[in-house]
């Protein structure tokens, strides 16, 4: 049982990485990125493609991918997504949904439907022995650490930097933030740029941990979304905890019956929604 929970917690780390970018974008500009999962898959395939083209190791490609993702996110927000923001949630939803379809089909054309993965010279099979007899994979542990670091970094950014203040201000009241001299369009673009760095990280790690296929996107979106809702909106640590809970719930489901893992996660999400719609660890914010 402990083993299952442990596996679940480590899985949750990865889910947290899926969810942080989503949480960030929604928090700053109320934009629901329905292509979140597809961008994660795109990042994974970009890494795979990069490894193939440049014939270098995965870590170097990952390092190159991060600034690229930053720039991509910035441009995407400035040229496409900024125009969809407003009171009506429909335009941003349709555009991101359209992007989701475009990405999936583009990947299908370029890479075919076969699942691929990122070679890590055996890192994904190494494990560390724990007291008590069980063992834990090195890669999942690494992913968990990265997720925790990312969450802490985001929380710190929001609470203690000028950029974080700008994010919170523009999210509270865009008009008055502009009255302070802020350019809201640029602030939004920065938020998306950061979100895409997280997406790139998530994609690369997902590709290392398991296989990726062009149609995986939607499921990853659902995991990200469920993590955010279970944890409660308004706090990154809340999202992190929500992700851990989702991971544990899924693992317990898998244990009971291989067909039930994801389903149990969905049920847990719905249960939280019914019983405590503000999430388990919400921060009091509008």
């Amino acid at each position: 049982m402990i083993d299952t929970v442990l596996q679940g917690v480590l899985l949750g780390g990865l889910y947290a990485l899926f969810a942080l970018g989503q949480s960030l974008m929604f928090g700053v500009m109320r934009l629901t990125n329905t292509a979140q999962g597809d961008f994660i898959v795109l990042a994974a395939f970009a890494a795979i493609g990069g490894i193939g083209l440049l014939a270098v190791g995965p870590w170097l490609v990952a390092a190159l991918l991060l600034p690229l993702a930053f720039g991509f996110g910035y441009l995407l927000q400035r040229t496409v997504l900024n125009g969809t923001l407003g009171r009506d949630p429909l335009p941003s939803l349709v555009v991101t949904f359209g992007l989701s379809i475009v990405i999936q089909n583009l990947l299908l054309e370029v890479f075919s439907a076969d699942p691929r993965s990122i070679e890590t010279a055996g890192l994904n099979t190494q494990s560390v022995a724990l007291p008590g007899g069980s063992a834990v994979g090195v890669l999942p542990l690494l992913i968990f650490a990265v997720a925790m670091a990312a969450t802490a970094a985001l929380q710190w950014l929001f609470g203690h930097t000028g950029l974080g203040r700008a994010f919170r201000a523009v999210s509270d009241d865009r008009e008055i933030a502009e009255l302070m001299g802020l350019d809201a369009k640029k602030v939004y673009a920065m938020a998306t740029a950061l979100a895409f760095v997280l997406i790139a990280l998530a994609g690369v790690l997902q590709g290392m941990r398991t296989t990726v296929a062009p149609s995986d996107g939607p499921l990853l979106l659902l995991f990200a979304f469920e993590s955010v809702i279970i944890g409660g909106m308004g706090s990154f640590w809340g999202t992190w905890l929500g992700a851990l809970l989702l991971g544990v719930t899924q693992q317990i489901g898998f244990r009971l019956d291989p067909g039930w893992g994801i389903w149990l996660g969905h049920i847990a999400f719905l249960a939280v929604l019914v019983v405590r719609p503000q999430g388990l660890f919400p921060k009091t914010r509008g």
């Binding site: 929604f26 109320r30 934009l31 629901t32 329905t34 496409v80 125009g83 969809t84 949630p89 429909l90 335009p91 941003s92 939803l93 349709v94 555009v95 949904f97 359209g98 992007l99 989701s100 379809i101 475009v102 999936q104 089909n105 583009l106 299908l108 054309e109 939607p218 979106l221 659902l222 979304f225 469920e226 809702i229 067909g259 994801i262 389903w263 969905h266 049920i267 999400f269 719905l270 929604l273 019914v274 719609p277």
Partner: protein, 332 residues
């Protein structure tokens, strides 16, 4: 200013209504006047497009008028299909009658589902509705009595010969189209519909006028679920085979969104225009598979950013037309 009346119809709308009725009659008589070889494929096409269109129309009602954007309506679509099949296969009910029952089931299930779904707003409501659809999909995939993950066939129509079956399905499809259009149009012209428009404009103001916002939204949600279930049941009566992946695929929502966005949201004509364009694109390009879908996605993005009211909305503005007027205007 002389005598002024408040009217609803426009000259164009009256003409369109007449043309519409004529078209339906001509279409219903198709088996009589079309050559046998192409009649069959035409009828199948119409049934297919009817399902897409009704789904889009209901999505438009929910999102454009009700303000609830959902990417999970396929939950009711698939449910309508499965209930129809189960009643037909196990309940001995005539599958054509079961189409209506499937729709009713979807409408009823929408009541408890709304209890969960309404906890969310905006973009999160959309994704949440998708999760609910996934729960339905996974649920039915684990139901071995209907074939689990690989699905099953509609055996109840085995006894009927192909031609009769196709004719019946075709006429029922036509009836469903007319029913769906009438239902939506009638709803919007009713007092509930007016309340809906008020809510859409300003929810708080509407509430302060004594409008039961939650009640109206629930009514819209249930009506949309019913209509979507109708489309789903119809589709699988035509298709004869059902599986969880086909029944609960998010592609249904994607196509509906596409049709409505292209055609114009929040207008009744939108889904019609969108369905026609979609059908044409389908005929021309669906052989290109992934490139076709990619193109659809790009088109939806461009239209959303450039033509905020959809193509039909742009036409309306440009030439002041209105085929399905729900707004009352002054006529001198």
């Amino acid at each position: 200013m002389g005598d002024v009346r408040v009217v609803r119809s426009t000259h164009v709308s009256r003409v369109a209504a007449g043309v519409g009725c004529a078209l339906v009659l001509v279409a219903a008589a198709l088996p009589l006047w079309a050559p046998a070889a192409s009649a069959s494929s035409w009828m199948r096409n119409v049934v297919g497009i009817a399902c897409y269109f009704i789904f889009a129309m209901m999505w438009n009602l929910l999102a454009g008028y009700g303000g609830m954007v959902s990417i999970g309506q396929q939950a009711f679509y698939g449910l309508g299909g499965y209930v129809m099949l189960m009643l037909g296969n196990f309940g001995g009910v005539n599958p054509f009658v079961a189409v209506l029952l499937g729709a009713l089931a979807a409408g009823l299930v929408a009541l408890p589902v709304s209890f969960v779904a309404f906890r969310l707003q905006g973009g999160y409501f959309a994704v949440g509705s998708w999760v609910i659809a996934e729960v339905f999909r996974l649920g039915f995939a684990n139901l071995s009595v209907v074939g689990g993950g690989s699905g099953t066939s509609l055996t109840a129509l085995r006894g009927i010969d192909k031609a009769t079956r196709e004719h019946l399905t075709y006429w029922i499809a036509l009836a469903c189209i007319v029913a769906a259009v009438t239902l939506v149009y009638g709803f919007l012209r009713s007092r509930r519909g007016l309340a809906l428009l008020a809510i859409r404009d300003n929810e708080v103001a509407a509430e302060s006028q004594g409008i039961d916002v939650r009640g109206v939204k629930l009514a819209v949600y249930v009506v949309a679920a019913f209509g979507t279930g109708l489309a789903g049941a119809l589709y699988f009566v035509g298709n004869l085979r059902i599986s969880p992946d086909a029944a609960f695929s998010v592609n249904w929502s994607a196509f509906a969104i596409f049709m409505v966005v292209i055609g114009g949201i929040g207008r009744i004509e939108g889904p019609i225009v969108g369905a026609l364009i979609f059908f044409a694109l389908n005929k021309l390009f669906s052989d290109y598979g992934t490139w076709y879908l990619l193109g659809l996605g790009l088109l939806a993005i461009v239209v959303t950013i450039r033509f905020k009211q959809g193509l039909w909305g742009w036409v309306e503005q440009r030439w002041g037309l209105s085929l399905f007027p729900t707004r009352r205007h002054l006529a001198a």
